[in-house]
Amino acid sequence: MSQQWPLWEVFIRTKGGLSHRHVGSVHAADPDMAIRHARDTYTRRMEGVSLWVVPSAAITASDPAQAGPLFEPAADKVYRHPTFYTVPDHIKHI
């Protein structure tokens, strides 16, 4: 039969308080194996305290061709940022 093991994306939390971050992928036949392979491949130098593995096929990504409509409309919404508002220097804690 020889069917390739599915691909899993690996995410690592490098230390408590930080989010998991994508680091790469491994092949594994099942979730337990995917965790072990991720551990043995990506945390050999104390890179992490927690692991996520996600079947690559389960990830839906945005379409780069749609990057304009998706992300550019946010560019002119400057009023979402605190620096948009003028407050005199002597007003503190705001």
């Binding site: 491994v26 036949a29 491949t41 050999r44």
Partner: protein
């Protein structure tokens, strides 16, 4: 471990929309990163798949010459270091296969290309490791040459490749040092140890210089690869840099570089060195290296012997999900 030595003409095809191509070239020229789902020219994709998979294959095959000495490492410390280093090579292969898979080529396809002889790997691994000193020489020279090739690739244009290279370069930093440390110990050791060290340098020096690939005037697709930031320095530039830093390292431990024409030039701050035997290089590229057969036989055997394990895990996973569904 790494090779740029085998880059061939990518075969430029032109049936692609001019405006997409222009936008792509502009992004690369502006030092932006190209990501997996972005539009890219076919030739770029093919060149990357070939270069990255070759790089991955080189890491995998590169495990064999050094793995040859794991059971014979002369101290517990050396054994652990060597095992960790060879394991790193396997890890680097894995990072690179992962990055290449984002271009739509599966690892299985790449491994099949390696085993059928369609894909190449670094010719340096088709030389044998005859004594313990070879482990020192590989770390010092081969990894030294590899690092020079790899460091610029941390800024290569394809995002997954660049990120893999960042991780690889970080991990490789101990490889060259451990190799040099082995050579240092041998060079101040017994007469037998010194003989091993000098002999290893004699055998590995020229193949190491060949690792940077053919001379620039005979490296046809360099210009395009440089423009695409798949390659960042020319073969001859990197080779010169390697000679300049490595010769003093040899002298510092009392070993002599096996090149009667090697000469230091105070005015330029560079060495000139003897002619490289490119006939030898192309013969090894053709698969005529001394242990090319052993290397491929070992890889195929490992893969074939493992088939039942891979099948069993797949079958078990299927049984388990069927049970869960029931």
């Amino acid at each position: 471990m790494y090779t740029t030595e085998l880059q061939k003409q990518a075969g430029v095809t032109t049936a692609e929309p001019a405006e997409l191509l222009a936008a792509f070239e502009a992004r690369v020229a502006a030092d932006e990163f190209i990501e997996p789902k972005d539009w890219m020219p076919d030739a770029y994709r093919r060149t990357l798949v070939r270069q990255m998979s070759q790089h991955a294959h080189s890491e995998v095959v590169g495990m064999l010459p050094e793995g040859n000495w794991i059971t014979r490492a002369p101290s517990l410390r050396r054994k652990a270091v060597l095992l960790a280093k060879v394991q790193d090579e396997g890890g680097h292969a894995l990072y690179l296969y992962s990055a290449t898979e984002t271009l739509g080529t599966s690892r299985e396809e790449m491994i099949d290309a390696l085993h059928s002889g369609r894909a190449k790997y670094s010719t340096i691994f088709n030389y044998p490791t005859l004594t313990w000193a070879d482990i020192g020489a590989i770390g010092w020279l081969v990894d030294g040459a590899a690092i020079m090739n790899q460091v610029p690739l941390q800024r290569t244009s394809y995002g997954p490749y660049a990120r893999a290279m960042v991780r690889i370069c970080k991990e490789e930093s101990f490889h060259q040092r451990q190799g040099y440390e082995i050579m240092m110990a041998l060079a101040v050791g017994t007469p037998e140890q010194k003989r091993m060290a000098q002999d290893a340098l004699n055998r590995w020096w020229w193949p190491s210089l060949m690792m940077f690939g053919p001379p620039d005037d005979n490296s046809p697709n360099s210009a395009q690869s440089m423009r695409w930031r798949i390659k960042r320095d020319t073969n001859d530039q990197l080779r010169q840099k390697f000679v300049d830093v490595t010769v003093p390292q040899a002298e510092a431990i009392g070993l002599s570089v096996p090149d009667p024409d090697l000469k230091w030039h105070e005015d330029t701050g560079h060495y000139t060195f003897g002619a490289i035997d490119w006939e030898e290089f192309y013969a090894v590229v053709r698969g005529e290296g001394p242990v090319a057969r052993e290397r491929m036989q070992a890889r195929r055997k490992a893969w074939d012997d493992g088939a039942w394990v891979r099948d069993a895990a797949t079958a078990h996973a299927e049984k388990r999900s069927r049970r869960q569904a029931a």
